[in-house]
Point group: C2
Chain length 371, copies 2
């Protein structure tokens, strides 16, 4: 493969070409800095502007209110599984989870290390093919954690109110009694998120925000006031990251720069609501075809389908392998489903152009005809 | 500054031009992958080869024995301050530190969160201008932690045996009773390190190993056998990182790729011993000038001088500012000393060519003549 292909990887994933081109053109020399972004001291005005600009742009495109802090934290979403519990709860406290997939399960397992972590609902018995409803929540719970978009299974919280009790959903100026914590790794910037409903949102960068190795955290400022237990490492404290503007130690400077370019690109496209429109059309092409197909099948409850990760199956592993071979030969890669579930998955984040999805649907139609 | 300058930053720092050029040329399309390294799924053969090759090259250039594991871990050296304690000791255990500067102090502070962390020696009263000797160590200590090269103060452990008791220094096939743990962030690959003397070596990447946001960890395999306390987050467990070949979660793929290019470049230069020779000559130019100068002064005990970070002072803050303005005008940046100590500092890692140091010494001579 000596030219760029359509890359349906679940993450790290396809990035918009103009973003990559800009970063390439500035790779040896960032304007005015005398060096690459990678070589830049994080204590210079050049880098401080990069950081501030990335935060400002993200605040605009997500319409993040001023009472929320934006943090860039190393370690991906998995580190956030631990940080959410270690910062919002004291050791031994009760906090709750909804089991909607593998990452939701891992989040709860990290909670188990810290306190009394409970599942309030689960769709595990149905291979996570739907989003289960939570009707009641223990009053002493420190937070409720959800996985907004489930990358492996292709499900998504398309409507919070229908699935969660009112005690966890905040309104403007009225924080809910129990903060809602959400891992939006695989849909952030690809789907509109109403930040004010949450106490804490986090997302690994490697889907819609640049290179892997960093998470973006959006946290309501009142949640920073709780002093974490003394045993919590300094790098795992939200309050320390906030106090030092994500620079307690040397931050992942190049990742922040790349995220900033991704944010600018989203703004140039018309913002997150516009991205969602485009992504709905992309996903719509696939789901519409799947609905009418007698060969391909979507295992996901229609109301809970993700517009970022479209999962589908074929009747046999032979047909699946044959189909995947065809896609690869046609310049479409990484369509294999997650190793834990098999089947196929098309991850169609912001960086995947409409033409990539059109080409995939054409190939599916053609494959069905010949099968 | 619209051309590349000599960047004396302490980190992130100057990188070799051929490394940057290669990364730029592959930025949109990694050979055979159909996408950028940044967009590559970490579960593909392309990325697995990048990771394996980086590890293999590092093992060759540092001559890392097979009974040591190489890990790439997110979070920089500060995360290692916590991980060293949380993995090598149980909560409440005793472990020891040598206080040779700000980062050594921070390492011990993270130890304080976990157990009975003790200083065995300190040069704080002398503004860390020398490496203090440790003569005795409590037998129950779980490890002794040192900061190999002190970036801010320009000191270095140039000889372990002269400063540390024999109980902490291992020999081939004979692990010491107490493991030696060292933060070699600012000298790794720039100075020869005899890995077999240590139980654990770690280093933030952003000096000699690429972009900020990652640490390289070299750990003797028997130290992975201890099960960390249940409360330790999964991302902070060496045994988990080792079991999953640094891919328990999505690793910082682009950082690992860049580190691999840096390792290859060191190998092409003739290896780490050769880099040390070159760096000795670079540092020698500066120290020789400082010895003979009546205006510039090295505050560091001669035997403990770093070849990576050369600190020096001028008689007044006015002269310091005037000198720094001259360097900047001459295309040499980031020569200001760390904000906690003032003065000047030339960080001359592997990426700084000899000509940069020659140019700096010329300017110092000229400045002295005119002062």
């Amino acid at each position: 493969m000596n030219e760029r292909v359509y890359n349906f990887s679940a993450g790290p994933s396809m990035m918009p070409l103009p973003v990559l081109e800009k970063a390439r053109d500035q790779f040896l020399l960032y304007p005015g800095a005398g060096c690459s972004v990678m070589e830049m001291s994080h204590r210079t005005p050049s880098f401080e502007r990069i950081l501030q600009s990335a935060k400002d742009t993200l605040r605009r495109i997500m319409e993040i209110p001023e009472n929320y802090e934006i943090l860039f934290i190393q370690g991906g979403a998995t580190t956030q599984f631990s940080m959410a519990a270690m910062n919002l709860a004291s050791q031994g406290d009760t906090f709750c989870y909804v089991q909607t997939g593998q990452f939701a399960t891992k989040a709860k397992e990290e909670g188990d290390r810290w306190g009394n972590a409970l599942y309030l609902a689960s769709s595990k018995a149905a291979t996570y093919s739907y989003i289960p409803k939570v009707s009641e929540i223990p009053q002493e719970t420190r937070f409720l954690h959800i996985t907004g978009n489930n990358t492996i299974y292709g499900t998504c919280y398309n409507d919070l109110d229908a699935y969660l009790p009112s005690e966890v959903i905040s309104a403007t100026g009225a924080p809910s009694p129990i903060p809602l914590v959400a891992d939006w790794s695989s849909a952030i910037l690809g789907k509109w998120i109403d930040v004010e409903k949450y106490g804490l949102i986090y997302a690994g960068a490697q889907k819609n925000m640049g290179p892997a190795g960093m998470a973006v955290v959006i946290i309501r400022k009142d949640l920073l006031e709780k002093e974490a237990d003394p045993v919590v490492p300094i790098m795992l404290r939200y309050s320390v990251a906030a106090k030092h503007d994500s620079m307690y130690n040397t931050p992942p400077t190049f990742s922040i720069y790349m995220a900033g370019l991704m944010f600018e690109w989203v703004e140039q496209q018309g913002g997150v609501r516009r991205m969602e429109e485009i992504n709905r059309r992309k996903a719509g092409l696939l789901y519409e075809f799947l609905e009418g197909s007698s060969l391909f099948h979507s295992p996901v409850n229609p109301a809970d389908r993700s517009i970022m990760n479209v999962t589908f199956t074929l009747p046999s592993s032979e047909l699946t392998d044959a189909f995947l071979a065809k896609t690869k030969a046609a310049g479409m890669i990484n369509l294999k489903g997650h190793r834990s579930v098999g089947g196929c998955r098309a991850s169609i984040y912001n960086g995947m152009p409409m033409e990539g999805v059109e080409k995939l649907v054409e190939l599916m139609k053609d494959f069905e005809k010949k099968a």
